[in-house]
Symmetry: C3
Amino acid sequence: MRREIIANVRKMVPLIHNITNYVTVNDVANILLACGGSPIMADDAREVEEITALCSGLNINIGTLNSRTIDSMIKAGKKANELGHIVVLDPVGAGASRLRTDTARRLLEEVHFTVIRGNVSELKTLYGEKSNTKGVDADMADNVTEENLSASVAFVQELSRKTDAVIAMTGAIDIVADGKQAYIIRNGVPMLSKITGTGCMLSGVVAAYGAANPKYPLEAAAAAVAAMGLCGELAKKRLDHTPEGGTASFRTFLIDAMSNLDDKMLEEGMKIECR
Amino acid sequence: MRREIIANVRKMVPLIHNITNYVTVNDVANILLACGGSPIMADDAREVEEITALCSGLNINIGTLNSRTIDSMIKAGKKANELGHIVVLDPVGAGASRLRTDTARRLLEEVHFTVIRGNVSELKTLYGEKSNTKGVDADMADNVTEENLSASVAFVQELSRKTDAVIAMTGAIDIVADGKQAYIIRNGVPMLSKITGTGCMLSGVVAAYGAANPKYPLEAAAAAVAAMGLCGELAKKRLDHTPEGGTASFRTFLIDAMSNLDDKMLEEGMKIECR
Amino acid sequence: MRREIIANVRKMVPLIHNITNYVTVNDVANILLACGGSPIMADDAREVEEITALCSGLNINIGTLNSRTIDSMIKAGKKANELGHIVVLDPVGAGASRLRTDTARRLLEEVHFTVIRGNVSELKTLYGEKSNTKGVDADMADNVTEENLSASVAFVQELSRKTDAVIAMTGAIDIVADGKQAYIIRNGVPMLSKITGTGCMLSGVVAAYGAANPKYPLEAAAAAVAAMGLCGELAKKRLDHTPEGGTASFRTFLIDAMSNLDDKMLEEGMKIECR
């Protein structure tokens, strides 16, 4: 793993354009600032091209889709592609409704994504939509375990080849891969699933790390995934020493940890395996 | 009061569909997770029926209404009714504008709500709209006090009969009642009104408790109201030992307390009277 | 500086109507409560006039503009003008896109603002649009420093004369001025720029302070700016004693500080100079 990934973010302070859901948008903005980037949110079709042109990266999240913002996502995505910016897709809830599945599919057709970050179920939906087969994913459970790890890596790499994107599939075990190489990451704590927005926040961090390390999208994405998991671990340790602490304190500690993280801490704390 | 209400939530992890305002939506998501449920937010008319069908309960909040989401509320509400899901209405600001009052009225006509949670003023508005009389509410002040408690209980029960919903009227003293039985709850602290979203969060918790205890909507709603008040008390006690602590720490402590709450703590801490 | 500015807010509890962005709306609501006011958010064109009529002040923020809410801003602004309420403009991102610049310009043409709060770049954009000249702003850097302070004050005062509004230009050094008098404020800490929403929150506080001190918009705005900076300093001091604390704790401490602030603390802590 490259050593200066976080330092590059803090030096460049990449401005990231987010078209995201209104549930976790504040958390995304704050974690982008915490990790060393800078956020801007804009979703009106009349301004998204201009805004994305001011930025170094684009983060598209379909968490609370509506007809007004779908067009904005496409427009911004095409512009970011034209400018060679990193573009991240977070297909929140793909598979949960026809609207989300269709939108994710349309986004994949019209925009080239640098990184797609989702959970197993969302990525299986994307895969199915691209291939119309149930090949790989039919063999894969909804959670990555040590038992199905090889099959899961194979699935992620096949999805990467189909989409020409780095895939970050997050869960109890995270897999970040392109068609050639895969990182398996075992950072994180279960409490990350007890607060809203950890996935959305991670996608923002992926965009910032990628924007500041544009030649290494795979490694930047893997570092972002490991960083988020490590921050979860640090937050949980701090919580264990906080009397009466609960999930809201954990959220505060998570963002605190991200704001204090540097490459040395990440290098020492990451549990990463390269295949 | 039944003893396993919270345990049932933590066991079932009910998925709650929220169509809610963008001011407090993040708090609602986090308190739903804290109380043992799981949130999903979706408000586009093209997906709300599918989303609500995946869930065990629906929470409709009119806090930042707009024309796009009103139709979504009706659609989702009808679908949830069809499926027999708990449906909660939080008529935020009913009475403050014609749009809100009319929307609340239209929702009451087109959707059957299991529970309606609001403050005195909002519920008086709903009552007036349903009856076109000023009978009961004309005799009722804007705050429930020990002096007007009997009249207030009578009002809540009459509104319950008119709407065929459990009514949770919250304020300094809370009343949760159906047409036959009423709980009077004296938990809570004044500081709960110094942070935004305590009402919205409570409506989310009411939906989760109700979804996991579907045969006992009245008791589930009363437990949720008592739980929120108790968490406010616990948060205030913790704040009293936090140097320089203020309202933002109180908010964190409130959600922390909810994430740590169990039936035993609730049973010991609730100040509830059954009439 | 008048002595009772905060006491007046806590006594009157001014209700502030906010048409604001969905990124920081929750923070704005919570800081309004913390500073002694009360927030209401409503942005549908069918209700904004009624809602603003219930309030004592209006806070318009163009952070996540869309076609639906622009009309609401104009309508609410005209109504607030008619009623003589304080109206605050936060031209977030003016200059970053044609939509934002045009909207800010249109708002300035159709609504009279009592206070405009922005950073140097946003206010230079407003100035250029009003004057079609590059006179003053061409001589002004993007940051106010001790070296360009006189030129910066002159710019703020000229913008004040053009818009007939109190101008609060915030940055490392803040300038709050009308055409006749200027306050230079040196409160604040760099970490305020590492969390989202400090500008949006400040605009909310400006509206609350102004609504409760309607005869003194300049002094109320200056007090709000100094209060926010001082709360940043207090939050930073508290953070320095918080092991593992980071930007999320700082945000909590900032709102905590605002909820505990009184006139005496402000008077002792403000670093303000009158020119």
